[in-house]
Symmetry: T
């Protein structure tokens, strides 16, 4: 099984800012842990991060054929991007949505996700373990 | 670590009805898998199910002091019970919210949860693996 | 044909209070008339009333296999119970929704029903004749 | 007792189109069954159908003095006509509202009725038996 | 000055029904009083009533060139007819909107008028004197 | 018959500003015309204007016993003052609401009036003739 | 291919009024151009206009069997008529919705169409060329 | 005078949890103070608490004939229970609604009460003195 | 303890108008009872009433330093005055909100209070006893 | 250039209360700084403050002819006063709206301003420098 | 005439995915057909596609002076991009909005377009013929 | 003090289009004036403009450590970008929001800003002087 892990805008800052919400783990730490778990479970993990909506759209477009599933933490684009929704839907791949923090316990504008209606599962508030749970669910 | 797993109304039917939404696993299967994972991770798991709102409220009230965390799938009461919200908040315990199906991909009245604003994490659409992810997150 | 007639909260008071809305007929009168009509039409009628949401949920759960259809007047729970909605949906039985008064001519919070979207028919404002109409429709 | 049965727009098509929603019974069949039941119960039944809002308004205006009650299935005008509401209210007659299908299980714009607030009873989803239930209720 | 007075659905019933809202004056009485006042003020008054939306639309279409102004009490169509709005706007004539009762003191669905935004004046609650005030204003 | 005519904030500017909305007539002109018409119809007219909400409230309080009716153009307070609503309701007098311009053809925040639900009649868009229509209606 | 072109209320006025919105072309011009294009593309075009909702409903009812498709510009009824929606849906024909002006650039009450959800295509703002585009699309 | 004091879900926890909202007084303390004040004012006080909606409904049903008034702090059910509303209304007794904290200064979902519209008085934010104020008001 | 009791617009009319809502007690009666209770409980009571929003704002501004608490029945300004909200908040004093009638059982526009979110307690529907309850709560 | 600076309710308290929102500067300080800057830029500055809505309305009415521009911080009346909106609009002067704090970062009821739609510029959150920015902009 | 055809995010996938919504035609096919029709009608057609919002904004910025009109299918950005709206408005060019599918028959979040209010025409549901209709309208 | 001035989409067009809204000043003019004022006040000013949301996000990310404050005119992204909101919040810098025009006097969709809730100040409608006011406020 091949899994693409996509992280969206500002997640490159992880571990350096607002640790009271996102913790001290860096994106590299998260990716390393996901790679390790993937290796353990026999899944090939590829990680990408971008601050650009179109770059995420294009990663998703290119995932078709190359991957079996996408784990996506679209961060701010979760709430505003129909383009990512469309790309994910068109990919035909299995989709897992992850958020490091519990978005339902934050500002109202973070309560709606354009991705959830087309995701297989949605995990929020588990920090890096959310990605791990998604990997386990996909490889089960 | 002691964890109380609470399942709400109609979850006693699991595995017997609407398998297209909830799958073929029974509640006993879920509980057995959670107990096994708990044993593996050194957590003591106790499982309760009730169709009654007040019974869930009282399980939560009594959990204080007896447990360190609650994993709750309140099913229909997720969307309607302020009493469960209040009991969870008053318990002072760590709360993980789990749903077998992805509630955001179902009817609009299932998109709002009275539990999410006070939960540490929210996991939906992973089936029984959602409970396991919650156990892992609590014992990490 | 076996039909379960379920009456919800405060309907045990029928005939004793607020007769300007509900009339002078008692619940026992209604049940007797339904039994008589069932006998006439070759349907076996069983009647249950409860003020408890979970008790209604469990009556519905147990109806599967034992009955062919449910006639339900969920009274106040009509407007607030997702748990009854879920139990009815999971039962796989034919559902008829009845209200003694015309709920659309009363307070705005009585205009929405959680049951109507999954009912075969909805009858309100006919008093006891609403139950009889439901029995006739089910046995037709 | 004299009862006027009014059917609104597109109901002249009954039995010929969209049978998955409205069934195979024609309007003539419905009217015949209503006449038969009226005869049996000692009620004189008159049936009218029109696709025109004003024609329905005028039938209702002329019903005063000539009839004791109106059974109305206003179809699409249920949701849009204040004029029919006003005519029914001004008639001073008993009003029964009937819909062949369960409008609450269909599109959202069919969930509100301008007639329900002034009707004695509302019956939907029973097909032709809805008219019969209305006749029985009026003649009881 | 030539004025067309248009009355809408159910106003032909005036004086015969719901006198607690509309009073005992008949439409003929109103028309007679308007004609008399018109004569006094040097205006030529023509009166039409119809229960049909399209008939009102066509009266308005034909008014262009033949009349200087329209006084309209569209009754129920006030709240539902975009077609009458469009016809009035296209007529290029001066428009006065009249209602016998104070629609703002009645049901919420009577508080919005499709005609008011394109009327010169709006008068409600003055009974027949509302038409007279409109005639005076037009002839001033 | 004794009638109090109350004019609200900024109406003292009438005839000097925004004539495209309010015309060139001054408040004194309006009051003079009202006095004249009152004299003609046998009504005693008293006129007051204030820019202060509490002053209007107190004029209304003192009107009880001294007047039979109030004609009020509360201007901006129409849309914001519950205090004036309460004073008018408590006065027990007949109330006529007047606006010089057609408030329904202006900004959305002018479409709701706190006075209309307790007024006998509402007249807008007739300019000074609106006051005259109110006087005629009260003295009829 | 046989196509019925239906035009709704006030479109008989085309070319004579409000040319800043609708242009100088008359309905006869539009119909002539459609007939010509139909002839060119091998489609038989029939044109009807009515100001009456029920007349449009009945044209649609009779179109079944006689036509392959309907091009409809329901004008004001676009926004208010569920009856036309129902007739179009029951017809089983292909539906193209046309508006001369861009309804999305006009008043808010023109932004919702009861026809769009059941139309194959929606064209607005192209003037008479909108009808031609619909004919081309149907005959392609 | 006989008064029933009903306390709803989670109020059995009073004095043990969330003292920043509810204070350190236990439910037993509250009941004792109410009994004492009742004795002083010549009222017979009976206290009941339940976490179950149906138990509260049944206490209310049985109160009729046995009590003159009910003081109710329905806690979470205040915001969700139509069944308690119905039972209170059907009881025909005087109703006083009490909340320990000021619900209007808390989360938005606590701002609406199903009980207030049928209560004689509503008191919130006075802690145990709220119950005392209700007792005084009832015995005055 | 020094307490300022502020009464808002139209409360000077108490006892003379709309007794079915407010009773026969005059404002002087209320003030006398409050003074008496204050004397009994060792609190110094000062009473003010004004129909003017700014006068209430200024009373509140001057209360700082001179009083320990304010009991306010802002009447109509409860629902419309942000200025009173701001003055109360800036005063730093304890605030008790009182309404003679149960505002939640009246018109919808009386259900929201600008004062409640910053008040310690809110009491409505107890008539003059509401002020007494506030005095007791403040002096407890 | 002559500029009138108007400050609304509770701004007379500046520097004495809630310094965490408004800072320690007094209104006299602000006025002095504005006068100084005006002198430097060749503008004649006049300052007025009132807690009364009508007083502000009248200051604005009298500003016409006497001033070229108004800088207004209407404080609480920003959100509630249509009368001030109307007076400003009728003045025909240039309008600058200032708020000491950032109203968009405060309670939701402070997010809407009745003044903004008719102001040339809106400045909030700059403290006293907001007034200075307005003076600079007007004199540029 | 020079026309720029702009296609937005995910339209590069056309013909390869979700053919039940978008058909089997590729973007190259569409562009070829548009070029051919342009050649036939004497218009010079240039085609661009981008998944990036800013790239579309910049194409539009550069179109000014270089093109006479823009045909835009902004896909997902239709519903979310104010930046494209602003660029189109600033371009001063004629704008035609095209959608391959009927967006009004899809999810609710696709019913609103930021482009429609500033477009000359809007065409949806005609597939590639929508572009052709736009070209014809622009070149007419 | 080091200040980053960020300008968003379409602001590169300033001075060339829609001068009735934005004036004739170019972006280069604005930047030059800001640099000059910065020099005068001892602040080091850096200016960036981008039409791309991600480029703005990345400018903000890199500002941390390099700048003390950001003055941002996010133009269209003001209303749609949660990503910029997140980047600004994570930067920990002082934020000033500027708009050339008064966004509250334009279309409703421009009235909400994702930036305002986290900005120190918001200035709109002052044209280039808005940037200058922000610089003054930051350097004060």
């Amino acid at each position: 099984m091949k899994i693409l892990i996509l992280n969206g805008p500002n997640l490159n800052l992880l571990g350096t800012r607002e640790p009271e919400i996102y913790g001290h783990t860096t994106l590299a730490d998260i990716e390393a842990r996901c790679m390790a778990l993937g290796a353990e479970l026999g899944a090939e993990i590829t990680c990408r991060q971008s601050n650009a909506e179109h770059a995420l759209v294009e990663e998703i477009q290119q995932a078709r054929g190359a991957f079996d599933a996408i784990i996506i933490n679209a961060a701010a684009y979760t709430h505003t991007s129909v383009a990512i929704h469309d790309a994910l839907k068109a990919s035909g791949l299995r989709i897992m949505e992850v958020h490091l923090s519990n978005i339902h316990a934050r500002e109202a504008f973070r309560h709606h996700s354009h991705i959830s209606p087309i995701a297989e599962g949605v995990i929020c508030g588990l920090g890096v373990m959310g990605y791990e749970a998604a990997i386990r669910a996909l490889t089960a």
